[in-house]
């Protein structure tokens, strides 16, 4: 809608920024506890506003008067602009870049993108590294959701992210098994309540070939707004790693790994992170031969890729025992310069991104013998600390490592009994923790659903934002730019 420049009509544009959000809010995408009635009331107001906006958009008229609420809303800030007594033009004209960057970095992602259109200076600032870094330092944690059964979008080349303004539904996916779509859920995280919305729905189509059988894809890492996606189908020799920024829509395809997965080799661990010392982004993965050669240990071998270098480097055998196909989760949780995975029985394996070495990290106490058979594990970050989730048939225990690397600092923070869970309790998969919120709630994914645990009311509820079949990870959106290099061409999702 190209109307924000017309006099008296800017309210239309303003609304158009919100239209999609409102649709989502109205239909399905919002979830909030506990001030429900207040929320409902504001929703009703918004619906009315929206209805007005749609009406006025349809009958576009330059001189049309805005509806009452609109008028009030627009007027209020305007008054504050024009009626100020101490307006000092000279300072305003050269608002220091530092201040502009500071103010911009505090705006929501979508508003920042719209602000790129304010003037040339602002457009360039958003790409400036000082803005990018400041914004990243303030960017709140959200969720990246990989929805596994969306509807199919055909694409002949590369990854595609497409905005979808409607809720993906299983009954809309009509043709193939497909690689899935990625969605970003923004968390409005306030001290006494939270609200979730996915206003800007990404559709990531990872199909590189229009084939009858499509490869699988997995999100295997997320750091500083970049996500690492693995795209594989051994039968067709497909084994590609992508690094992508869903906000700027840039992505690179890494060169082929030395070992491709296939009949004889399988990937066990995958990780993506950044070295705080050098600022280098690295992808690491570890392989294992599928066939066990008699009298020889089934060795795990790793290789690492530093973004911009163009080649994978072998790290040789990994001194950690790990069984192939034991875990469906490859995702390496990145924290404190290390990627983390759960290996073997109750052990945490780490990869140091600077030293490029694997090590075991002290684990919390093992489960009681009687519970071993029902024990499922996952790793997450809670209040900046590494935490481990032990899912049992009857309960979930969340252990937090208060001091990184210190065995005695493992503390059992939360125990959630199965009885309080109204949705189905996971029996075969671990519960995944996505984020701990300021109001004490925990956002979790299990049984392919995005759920919220509220410690005050002692409830676990399905947010019902999406149809089932999803996985989710913590994700902090950023404007980080991918760099072109000889071996990595930066592409833009089309």
């Amino acid at each position: 809608m190209e109307i924000e420049d017309k006099p008296n009509c800017h309210h239309l544009h303003h609304n158009s920024l919100m239209t999609h959000d409102l649709k989502f809010l109205i239909l399905h995408s919002s979830y909030r506890i506990p001030k429900y009635s207040q929320w409902a009331y504001s929703l009703v107001l918004k619906v009315i506003t929206l209805a007005y906006a749609i009406q006025s958009t349809q009958s576009v008229g330059k001189t049309e008067r805005p509806p009452p609420e609109e008028e009030n809303r627009c007027k209020q800030p305007k008054q504050s602009i024009s009626s100020s007594p101490n307006l000092n033009q000279s300072i305003m004209e050269d608002l220091p870049t530092e201040l502009t960057i500071d103010i911009l970095s505090r705006l929501p992602v979508k508003t920042i993108i719209h602000c790129k259109r304010v003037c040339k200076k602002w457009r360039n600032l958003v790409s400036d590294s000082s803005f990018v870094n400041l914004h990243l330092s303030r960017s709140p944690t959200g969720i990246i959701i990989h929805h596994k059964k969306p509807y199919l979008i055909r694409s002949a080349t590369g990854i595609r992210i497409i905005v979808h303004h409607k809720k993906p539904r299983i009954d809309n996916w009509n043709i193939h098994n497909d690689p899935g779509i990625l969605m970003w859920v923004e968390i409005e995280d306030i001290v006494d309540h939270h609200r979730l919305h996915y206003h800007g729905l990404f559709n990531v189509d990872l199909n590189r070939d229009v084939l009858a059988i499509l490869p699988k894809s997995r999100v295997v890492g997320s750091v500083n707004g970049l996500i690492c996606v693995w795209h594989y189908f051994p039968l067709l020799n497909i084994d590609d790693t992508y690094i992508c920024n869903p906000i700027t829509r840039e992505y690179v395809v890494l060169p082929r790994e030395r070992f491709l997965i296939g009949d004889d080799v399988g990937v066990v661990l995958y990780g993506f992170g950044v070295s705080s010392l050098t600022g280098e982004y690295k992808v690491v993965r570890a392989f294992q031969a599928k066939k066990v050669v008699q009298n020889q240990p089934n060795v795990l071998e790793a290789e690492v890729y530093t973004l911009g270098t163009g080649q994978w480097r072998s790290l040789g055998p990994v001194p950690v025992s790990c069984r192939l196909n034991t875990f469906k989760e490859f995702y390496g949780l990145f924290l404190n310069n290390h990627c983390h995975w759960i290996v073997s029985h109750n052990e945490i394996c780490t990869f140091d991104l600077e030293k490029e070495t694997f090590q075991l990290l002290p684990s919390p106490p093992p489960p009681p013998v009687k519970d071993i058979w029902s024990h499922r594990q996952s790793l997450a970050i809670l209040n900046g600390c590494l935490c481990k989730l032990d899912t049992y048939r009857s309960e979930l225990k969340i252990w937090v490592m208060k001091e990184y690397g210190i065995k005695n600092s493992w503390h059992r923070e939360v125990v959630i009994r199965r009885e309080i869970c109204v949705t189905r309790w996971p029996l075969y998969e671990p519960i995944h923790l996505i984020a701990g919120l300021k109001d004490g709630s925990l956002l979790m994914v299990f049984e392919n659903k995005l759920c919220v645990y509220d410690p005050r009311s002692q409830t676990i509820e399905d947010t019902k934002m999406f149809d089932p079949e999803l996985s989710g990870w913590a994700y902090r959106p950023s404007f980080l730019k991918l760099q072109n290099s000889e071996s990595e061409r930066v592409h833009l999702l089309t």
Binding site: E4, D5, H10, H11, H13, H14, R73, C74, P77, K78, S80, I81, S83, S84, N86, L87, N88, Q89, I91, M92, E93, L95, P96, E98, L99, T100, D102, I103, L104, R106, L107, P108, V109, K110, T111, I113, H114, C115, K116, R117, V118, C119, K120, K121, W122, R123, I161, I162, V163, G200, L201, F202, T248, R249, L492
Partner: protein
């Protein structure tokens, strides 16, 4: 130790007295005091007297540490006009008073986040120099956000 007083001078040559132990919340002033004892008047050539009066009021606050955050928030909330807030942010930037600058910038961001582009330009006195081609390029680049 007796309470030492410093004198700050605004752009329009007005003088403000403030106790040194309060003034050194400003890193800029703290460094000046460290360097030469800052016995004379400290000139602030970019800060007008109205803004400096606000800064002095802020520096003179007597809050318990646990209430300070709320106070700073309320302080900028009460000066909810964008030009005032920008002046305040600019002064806080020059004087290196991080808390005040953060709060002022946060408040401006809060105010402009629901503005239209035209309102943002008007509020921050920005000239619209973009071309239709650039506009299209941004829309193409960030399709999902439009």
């Amino acid at each position: 130790m007796s309470k030492k007083t410093l004198t700050l001078m605004s752009k329009d040559k007005q003088l403000f007295n403030i106790e040194e132990h309060l003034a050194v919340q400003s890193v800029t002033i703290r460094n000046m005091v460290k360097e030469d004892g800052a016995s004379s008047v400290i000139p602030l050539p970019r800060v007008d007297s109205e803004t400096l009066a606000l800064v002095i009021e802020y520096l003179n606050r007597q809050q318990a540490p646990e209430e300070d955050e709320d106070y700073v928030k309320k302080f900028v909330d009460e000066r909810g006009e964008i030009p005032t807030l920008l002046e305040l942010a600019q002064a806080a930037l020059d004087l290196d008073i991080k808390k005040l600058m953060d709060a002022a910038c946060m408040k401006v961001a809060d105010l402009i986040k629901d503005f239209t582009l035209e309102e943002v330009r008007e509020a921050l006195r920005i000239e619209n120099d973009r071309t239709p081609e650039e506009e299209k390029a941004i829309r193409d680049e960030f399709q999902w956000a439009f």
